[in-house]
């Protein structure tokens, strides 16, 4: 299956979904390219899980189209679903079976031929690090291993689109790191879409971010660019022998100075003109005894809160327009160095 994966693996257009009178998903349009890891980010109840259920055919949208590798999910569900691997919020495990039995069942279920099942099984077990527990009954495994079995069933047929609903929830830090590495690795061959409310997860594994709020996609960009959203340029300095605040204000390029504590100051400046070196020179000259200078770094948390609160006040997006209009074309993906 992996040989002929098209450029666009998943395309959802104008999805709408109601539960009773409540509109849960409003006019959602989403596109996933081959080899891309997309993070669907949002508060609890933003509609992430509902969206993923619709993309995997577990829930029918009230209106809108979904195409998996160019196959319409509504008109041709069996063919389209063969290209999807889905890990729901709760891994769908038959806990009375052994890991091998369960994964073999999952492989046959996805239509893998008998001759290829062993290979598929071995590959999935190896990728998910399940070698040591293959013969164990799933109910006896720890939560982390159960989660890995859940991922293994989603990737056993090497699908073009892998949908993971909060894959790292409830795991310990070492397991989270392993699973993130696995997701990155999966992103090399397939497209991955994962929902999460953990921002550092997006930072560490996703190429692109879509933020959902109240059933709408309100922001879409590469995760690198997201960090620069509304970024303020500045730094915090600690001075053992601080001058009056007006002297700091007088340094060319400084736009604003706030006193954080007796010795700490937050200095804001224009993005293009960094007064850092001038400040250092003046500090040395006047014996301010500079102890520390830390550039202000906006965390994804701050960005997320800013984006969601910005959008809560914005007028609703007009019907039918694509959320893609806020994405810069050819947004750079994955050029980041190690995290600070």
């Amino acid at each position: 299956m992996s040989n002929a994966i098209p450029e666009i693996t998943l395309y959802a257009r104008n999805l709408t979904r109601r539960f009773g009178n409540q509109l849960i998903i409003h006019d959602l349009t989403l596109e996933l390219k081959r080899g891309e890891v997309l993070g669907l980010l949002g508060h609890n109840g933003a509609g992430k899980s509902t969206t993923l259920q619709m993309l995997t055919g577990c829930l029918l949208p009230d209106s809108g189209e979904i195409e998996i590798c160019g196959i319409n999910l509504k008109k041709n569900p069996q063919l389209a679903k063969a290209h999807i691997g889905y890990l729901p919020e709760t891994p769908p495990l038959y806990k009375e079976l052994s890991v091998d039995d369960y994964l073999t069942f999952a492989a046959y279920l996805r239509g893998i031929k008998k001759a290829e099942v062993d290979d598929a099984l071995n590959t999935a077990v190896k990728r998910c690090g399940l070698e040591s527990v293959r013969r164990k009954i799933i109910s006896t495994l720890s939560k982390g291993y159960q989660q890995r079995v859940g991922i293994a069933q989603a990737i056993i047929h090497s699908p073009a689109v892998i949908v993971l609903d909060e894959p790292t929830v409830g795991l310990d830090p070492a397991q989270i790191r392993d699973i993130r590495n696995l997701i990155r690795e999966l992103g090399n061959t397939s497209s991955v879409i994962l929902s999460t409310h953990l921002l550092h997860e997006v930072e560490s594994v996703c190429d692109r971010v879509e933020i959902m709020q109240q059933g709408r996609l309100i922001y879409s960009d590469s995760s690198l660019r997201m960090q620069h959203y509304g970024e303020v340029s500045g730094f915090i300095i600690s001075l053992q022998n601080p001058p009056p605040i007006s002297e700091l204000q007088a340094i060319p390029g400084v736009t604003r100075v706030e006193q954080v504590s007796a010795n700490d100051f937050r200095i804001l400046h224009e993005a293009v003109d960094n007064p850092g070196s001038r400040l250092l020179a003046i500090a040395a000259e006047n014996n301010w005894q500079l102890a520390q200078l830390t550039p202000l770094h906006t965390t994804l948390e701050e960005v997320f809160v800013k984006i969601t609160s910005d959008n809560a006040n914005l007028p609703k997006r007009p019907q039918g327009s694509s959320p893609k209009n806020i994405v810069a074309p050819n947004a750079p993906c994955f050029e980041r160095g190690p995290q600070p």
């Binding site: 539960f19 509902t50 259920q53 995997t56 055919g57 577990c58 829930l59 029918l60 569900p77 069996q78 063919l79 679903k81 063969a82 999807i84 889905y86 729901p88 919020e89 709760t90 769908p92 495990l93 038959y94 806990k95 009375e96 079976l97 039995d101 069942f105 999952a106 046959y108 279920l109 996805r110 239509g111 069933q153």
Partner: protein, 247 residues
Amino acid sequence: MIRLIAMRELRSLFSMPSTWFVLAVLQFIFAWFFLARLEAFLEIQPQLAQLANPPGVTITVAAPLFYTAALLLMMLVPMFTMRLIAEERRNQTLTLLLAAPLSGRHIVLGKFAGLLSFLLIMIISLPLMAYSLALGTHLDGGLLLANCIGLILLTACYVALGLYISSLTTQPLIAAIGALAVLVGLWLADIGAPAAESPWHQFSPLYHFQNFNAGLLDSSDAAYFVLFTAVFLLLTMKRLHNNRVYG
């Protein structure tokens, strides 16, 4: 695909100790009842021999054994059908099937076939026990065959109904009680209706089994069983589809 789901169902059943326990207890009850009937038959056999056209061992031992099995299965099948869909829904494993390249038809027929084959393993001992009498006497093969066919059709009915009720809920216990209530209700409608011509009799699967039990192969009884099973299987497929529509 149907076979795959059926095999998975069987594998899960046999991995539970309770299944083996029920299987053992039921075999014990069948054997005990069979021996009790046989003993009674041997006691009254000298008197029977004086009749002009005495009833044979098949109608006095095997037929009541099958009827008892039919009654016991009515109580027992809901205990097995309750898990079929309700438990998958509760454990959220249904998502695996719904997201797999399968249609509702595969899921429903697979589960139906899986449980039915398990129950067939359970009742296979009945014809074997009856057949063991062939060592000492001549058996009425037609009557035995009619009983076997009737019991299989009846079991299929029970499973289809239980499967449908299991698809309506998330709680296996409610599915079990619901299926039991409907089956017992149908049975009570049958035995509670006084007049022989009363239409209430027609609703009960056990009433239609009585003809098979007496060795009478009536196509209308067979049609009732097939229709009953088909209707509930179709309703279950519809219900699974609604799962996608209503969430």
